[in-house]
Amino acid sequence: MPPFTTSRRRLLRWVGAASVAGVAGCAGGSDGGSELVATLGADVSTYDPTQANDTTSRKAFGLVYEPLVSVDFDGTVRPTLATALDQQDDRTWRVSLRDGVSFHDGSDFTAADVKASFERYAGTPRESDVFLWYEDATIRDDSTLDITLSEPYAPFQLSLGGVPIVPEAAATGDLDLSNGPVGTGPYAFDTHEPDRLYRLTRAEDHWYAGDEVPETPPIETLTFRIIVEQSSQVAALRGGDIDLANNPPADGVADLRDDDAITVSEHLAGGFEMLIFPLAAPPFSNRDVREGVSRLIPRDDIIESVYGGIGQPAYAPISPLLDDYTSESFLTEMGDEYMRYDPERARELLDAGFSALDVSPPYETTIVTNETGDRVRWAQLVRDELNATEFFDVSIEQFEWSTYIGRVLSGDSHRSDAMMALGWSGGWDPDTYLRNMFYSEQATPACCNAAHYANDEVDRLLDEALTTYDTAERRALYEQAQRRIVADAPVGFVRFGTRIEAYRTDAVEGFETYPLDSGEFTAIYAPWAGTYTATGGG
């Protein structure tokens, strides 16, 4: 992917942004400044990127810190604190930094801040965000540095997007980020009352000086109310206590659509739901049995009745969000060949599989799941389909999330006889959909390959793809890897997800849903993507 290309979508968005610019002027609260009240579904637990394991914290500092580059709504890398990335050789990238940028504490942004921001990840819980690829950085002058990678790394630019830049003082110990985040972003930290609210205020001297979007964000104050209970969040939105709610429960979306005061915004997300097979336990050790079960997953029914028609059937791991790496026709082909709901074909496969194994049906087993309502409901539909054949007698077992994930990742779930219902969220790089789930060395308990799927060819393809910079070549490698995985059927893919937000139509103008959860508030003000949000009406 050549760095910093523009796209047709970007231009269209620019036109859209221009049309709402007129509204921004008349927005304003009683105290003279405009305020947007949004929500967080959990409390913010840290302001420090090197400690942030939860999406909530990452969302909350997303407008405060900025990375060198950002990833826009369709996965394109955009210059942010860097103005150019020039590849010197396979392992070296020269980064030119933006001039005239300062942190919220008044200090100037220089190459030393970048190097320190990377290196302070060492020995922290999020070490792998950086040290998976970072070897060293050489500062050439205040606004130029060379980053050396430990080996060629194709997702380098995307990975930079996940590393927020903090002042060097945070690395030397002169600045304590646990008192509040200090970045270069369009909003500065104001207050955080635990479990109650988290508030940001507009940074008046943000570096942006173009004319695609207003030079300063139209919204002066961003207040995030912390509302854990989803039903209460929906009630608060309908009652007018908040302007913007995220991820309303699937069964409540229809009500929100019917409400004239509310706009529902959605975007295909990066992730899928799946049914993992325990590969070491007969009858799931047999490929035909696995394909048979996969062909009994009623994906269209599930999307219709469980998810209210939102989302799309998954026939391969990589989400259509990454349209460089997957295509409608590829998904259709995989579906036809290995996965589409087909009870007759399933019966033949199960018959063949069970005879080959000498397992006498009905085979008594369980589908284990956590208590997420939507997940339990699709697992029930799968159970009903399986029990309608003479081959299975399936029941469902639910666990509280941390107990459940502990069990799935324990390292021997592939030997138990239970199928596991799970969701996986990927990011902007195709590797994020494949490596952790299907690479042999990522087998539990090392990481998340709970099926204990191991295929040398898939391992080789994933390794090669990770060091291949050329998009076309990379795409071919991922297609081959996906074909192998889908044919081996270590899991039955169910559904690609959708992110949903709902907002009060009269209070919010220009908001867009970002495909990944951690970037939820990107659209509030993202000059690098030509996008911003204003408070409406006025």
């Binding site: 637990s45 070490e127 479990d195 854990v228 209460s232 009652g239 941390s402 107990t403 502990g406 990742l409």
Partner: protein
């Protein structure tokens, strides 16, 4: 035995109970699957050195009995350690939320007593009338309604449809008028079951007392009915109400876990639930210990109030 000696003895007796509570609190948390290290690392790959240093940080490399003694020693010095999920101290996190939970619990408790006890007295005095039957039905419904559901229902009716009160807490100090207005719904939600229980309990206690000889004597003496009920009957009936009231303190704290979530009220209940899910052991241990201590103290107070209510009780 004098009242003073009784109070002293009763107070000393709570010490072994509290010690037992501390063992249970510590032990139960240890029985939960997963450790703080799992939360910190999110099941990611980590070098053995990082893992070991994290284990050492939480004393997980020591034998369990030693972990307990280390913890108990800290607790006795009122040092609850640092949180797993952030570098803030557990004591500060609790201090931040304690006022919220106390105010919510206090208002709920007042509502429960001020509604429950008079309703029970009226029902007993008008035994067999429509008033009595009505209070019985209302009380049964009150006891049977899950507070989670009641809370959402009240939010929908008063917050969304009638739009009379905010659905989420106002940005204001806990004692500000708008906060107290907001607290009406959560307090009603939390107090309803207790109010219903007090109603039934008071009714049966008062009914029983009304059959006693002393009531006939008092009436024969020419005392007016109000004096008979309030001064004699109610005082004697309250003993069982006080016993149950002490136990209700536990129920109110327990119910707060749910009600605080529904009403987004930043109290101890939410801190506790989140800490359990995140294996934030220092917080779980501290909050559970605090709640258990509150219940033990409430029972102690109940025992002392008996002695005040009924001087005939000797020990």
């Amino acid at each position: 035995m004098s009242l003073r000696r009784y109070v002293l003895r009763r107070t000393l007796l709570t010490l072994p109970i509290l010690l037992g509570v501390s063992v249970l609190t510590f032990g139960l948390v240890k029985l939960l699957p997963g450790t703080p290290v799992d939360y910190v690392l999110q099941f990611q790959e980590a070098t053995p050195e990082l893992r070991a240093s994290l284990r050492a940080q939480y004393h997980l490399d020591e034998p369990v009995w030693k972990q307990y003694l280390l913890w108990l020693n800290d607790v006795l010095h009122l040092d609850f350690g640092d949180r797993v999920v952030s570098d803030r101290s557990v004591g500060a996190a609790i201090a931040e939320r304690l006022p919220e939970t106390l105010v919510l619990g206090g208002i709920s408790f007042l509502i429960a007593l001020l509604v429950g006890v008079p309703a029970g007295v009226v029902a007993a005095v008008r035994r067999g009338t429509l008033v009595d039957e009505g209070s019985r039905v209302v009380a049964l419904v009150g006891i049977a309604t899950p507070n989670f559901w009641l809370g959402l229902l009240l939010i929908l009716v008063f917050g969304v449809h009638l739009n009379l009160v905010p659905v989420i807490p106002p940005v204001a100090p806990v004692f500000a008028p708008e906060s107290l207005v907001f607290l009406v719904l959560p307090a009603v939600t939390l107090g309803t079951a207790s109010a219903a229980l007090f109603t039934r309990l008071t009714r049966s206690a008062v009914t029983e007392q009304l059959r006693q000889e002393y009531v006939r004597a008092a009436r024969a003496k020419g005392l007016d009915e109000r004096t008979v009920i309030v001064k004699h009957v109610l005082r004697n009936s309250l003993i069982s109400v006080v016993t149950v009231a002490a136990v209700q303190v536990a129920f109110l704290l327990d119910g707060a876990v749910v009600v605080e979530r529904v009403f987004s009220w930043p109290g101890l209940g939410r801190l506790l639930v989140r800490a359990i899910l995140q294996r934030d052991f220092p917080v779980v241990q501290a909050v559970v210990l605090l709640v258990a201590t509150a219940v033990v103290v409430a029972n102690l107070l109940a025992d002392i109030v008996y002695a005040w209510l009924d001087p005939r009780i000797t020990y």
